[in-house]
């Protein structure tokens, strides 16, 4: 079955769920690499470096005298190593920027005392008497992941779809999933640099993420729900949508090879509570060698209201639904597969199952709060 739903704890568990669903469907794993979170990430990736990024550069000839870096999650330091530097003094920075001395005038290979090993810091400052190169702060906990980059191929020679998914943690508590298609895969490139990619994000957190996924051998649809009434900024349910993969072409396959679309709730790696609605009315579609933003017939409460869609279900009939057709001023490409805009009747809620033309669909939405013009029907078949 192409449809599953459930709840994952954190973004890495969600990626594992997608991987298992895909391999069960016959998708092939082209690559699956995990970068552990056991050291300050090289080049300050997923960190915020105030100064001194040369000290942690992947180019080991770069150097800096001082380093101050905010990391994605708190860590307990075990030991430190570096080249050059002279003698180095290290501070752990507290929430109010107070510097706690954790190592004074030390050399490479220094192991922290038990007192320090029991502490947790998210921000670190290191000052060397000389320039430091290849600075590493080894964490006690070596089991956490910084990122996991998974690449899947649908194994279809005629219509090859390559899905790229990267789960990662980032500063400010971010735990996001980058998604895109690509028309090739190179192990030396990052997800943004893969051939013909356009990266969208599903914004997560370290807590519970409810997921509703439909995967077939052409495309992935994923809705997520995060509900954090304890959050100071967003107490509504936050619903996000990712559609990545082929659209259902309306003919003209010869003219539209690799016709992938991407719809996502964000195209920047933001926090889950900073999300807007997905770009369902303006999907990115791949044609003529690049992704371009096009129009769609999807409904969105920003532009569709009772003023221009004064319609309801007829007596004893089905609710109104429409395919999400992707087009621009010169072309009609096709429609998204397995996802329809609907105008639900009063009383119809998210997560209800409805039938449209003898097929089962799940009622889901994009955005926060509940607006009937932001609801969709996602195939459960």
């Amino acid at each position: 079955m192409a449809y599953i739903q459930g709840s994952s704890y954190g973004i890495f568990e969600l990626l594992e769920v997608i991987k298992n669903l895909a391999t069960n469907q016959g998708w092939e794993v082209l690559s699956d690499t995990t970068t552990p979170y056991n050291d300050i990430p090289r080049d300050g990736k997923f960190c915020s470096v105030e100064y001194g990024s040369d000290a942690i550069s992947s180019n080991k000839t770069n150097s800096a005298n001082s380093l101050r870096v905010l990391m994605p999650r708190e860590i307990s330091p075990e030991s430190v190593s570096f080249i050059g530097g002279g003698s180095v003094t290290i501070y752990g920075i507290l929430f109010d920027q107070t510097k706690e001395l954790i190592a004074e005038n030390v050399t490479s290979g220094y192991e922290f005392g038990d007192e320090v090993k029991a502490k947790k810091y998210i921000q670190i400052e290191a000052n060397g008497t000389n320039a430091m190169r290849d600075f590493h702060l080894n964490f006690i906990n070596k089991n956490e992941s910084l990122s996991r980059y998974l690449v899947l191929s649908n194994n279809d020679d005629v219509n090859n779809v390559i899905l790229n998914l990267e789960a990662f943690i980032d500063i400010h508590g971010k735990a996001n999933l980058a998604i895109t298609t690509s028309t090739g895969f190179s192990p030396n490139l990052s997800i943004e640099n893969q051939l013909h990619s356009k990266v969208g994000y599903l914004l997560g957190h370290d807590g519970e993420i409810d997921y509703y996924i439909n995967l077939n051998n052409q495309r992935l649809i994923i809705f997520t729900r995060i509900y954090r009434p304890d959050d100071s900024m967003q107490k509504n349910e936050v619903w996000q949508l990712g559609y990545v993969g082929r659209i259902r072409l309306y003919g003209g396959e010869w003219a539209l090879p690799d016709c992938n679309a991407i719809v996502a709730s964000s195209f920047k790696s933001k926090k889950w509570n900073e999300t807007n609605k997905a770009n369902i009315t303006a999907p990115f579609v791949y044609f003529s060698g690049a992704f371009s933003q096009v129009n769609s017939t999807a409904f969105d409460s920003a532009s569709v209201t009772a003023i221009n869609a004064n319609i309801e279900a007829p007596q004893g009939g089905e609710i109104f639904s429409t395919p999400i057709i992707c087009y621009n001023s010169n072309n009609i490409f096709g429609e998204l597969d397995g996802l329809y805009s609907i105008i639900p009747s009063d009383g119809l809620n998210r997560l209800d199952t409805i039938t449209l033309e003898n097929e089962n669909f799940l009622v889901v939405q994009s955005g926060t709060g509940f607006n009937k013009f932001d609801t969709f029907a996602m195939s459960k078949e």
Binding site: A255, F320, I332
Partner: protein, 314 residues
């Protein structure tokens, strides 16, 4: 089963006889009221009335017509039929021996389309008329539609006949300054039309009506978000080379003042063309066949795209 016939005929009486036998073969009940008047009833009881009189010329209110009605009463006069609504209004050619040229007839037991091809005659026009039943999404009283490209324009002090502009497409509404033909819909026992009406009070809309969200205008379209006109205007996709064909979909207003989806009229498609096509051209779509007809007036002044219709023949 859809029947399709093309014929070259000289007089309007011949044409009426031809229509009569065609409809009979399709499964309609017919009654030849007179030499010039034919009544026909489809398999669901819908009525059709033909009145073919000789050429009249300008300033005449009564001319040849094709009309719809709720049902047929053989004893009544043609324009006294229950629920009578005049649809097509036109003149045959002046020459009594060459009143028309070619005609196309398409139909089955509940749908009928006629195109009178006068593209090479002295008075140049194509008369297009279609009527039939929707594939309904649910049970309701009504669901028959009729459309024509030539009808009475409201002015008896001029020629009286309006024909569709090239830039206008079928199954939309007609306003005073934009000739789009006459579209009618049978709902709740009454034939209703959208020719020069305030669309805000119309009890039906289609997906081929243009977008207008200004509620203070008479062409305010309460279903603008569902309008297929932006897709229709694409005409032919430049990458795939495929034409865009739109099936007319109808919506009616229920007694809560909200529209519901009535169904679609599967016999016809509306499309735009970016270069001249030959009317009568056959289009294959999968295992279905359509014939292309011009619905517009013959004038050279407007620029592409033009809008035409495709009628299903198989």
């Amino acid at each position: 089963m859809i029947r399709y016939e093309k014929a070259s005929l000289q007089t309007r009486i011949e044409l009426l006889t031809k229509i009569e036998s065609f409809l009979n073969v399709c499964g309609w009940q017919t009654h030849r009221k007179s030499n010039e008047i034919l009544y026909a009833t489809d398999s669901l009881g819908g009525g059709l009335v033909f009145n073919f009189i000789p050429y009249k010329g300008d300033y005449n209110r009564v001319r040849s017509s094709i009309n719809v009605c709720n049902s047929i009463n053989n004893d009544l006069n043609y324009n006294q039929q229950p629920g009578f609504m005049e649809m097509s209004m036109f003149d045959f050619q002046k020459n009594a021996q060459a009143e028309l040229n070619q005609v196309y007839l398409i139909g089955d037991d509940k749908n009928f389309t006629i195109l009178i091809d006068n593209s090479t005659s002295p008075i140049r026009y194509n008369l297009f008329f279609t009527c039939g039943w929707l594939r309904k999404t649910h049970d309701f009283n009504g669901g028959r539609t009729a459309f024509t490209n030539m009808c009475f324009n409201g002015f008896t002090n001029w020629s009286g006949i309006t024909t569709i502009y090239k830039r206008q497409h079928a199954f939309s509404y007609n306003t005073g300054d934009s000739n789009s033909g006459k579209l009618a819909f049978f709902l709740g026992d009454i034939w209703r039309h959208v020719f020069n009406v305030d669309l805000r009070s119309s009890k039906f809309l289609t997906n081929l009506m243009p977008i207008n969200t200004n509620s203070s205008e008479t062409t305010y379209n309460q279903l603008s978000a569902l309008s297929a006109v932006p897709l229709l205007q694409i005409c032919k996709s430049t990458l795939s080379g495929l034409y865009t064909l739109i099936t007319p979909n109808f919506f009616y207003k229920n007694n809560r003042n909200i529209f519901v989806h009535a169904g679609d009229f599967d016999m016809v498609r509306v499309l735009g063309i970016k270069s001249e096509i030959k009317p009568g051209q056959i289009l294959h779509l999968g295992d279905e066949k359509f014939i292309l007809f011009n619905t517009y007036t013959f004038s050279t002044s407007e620029s592409f795209p033009y809008y035409i219709v495709a009628v299903k023949i198989a």
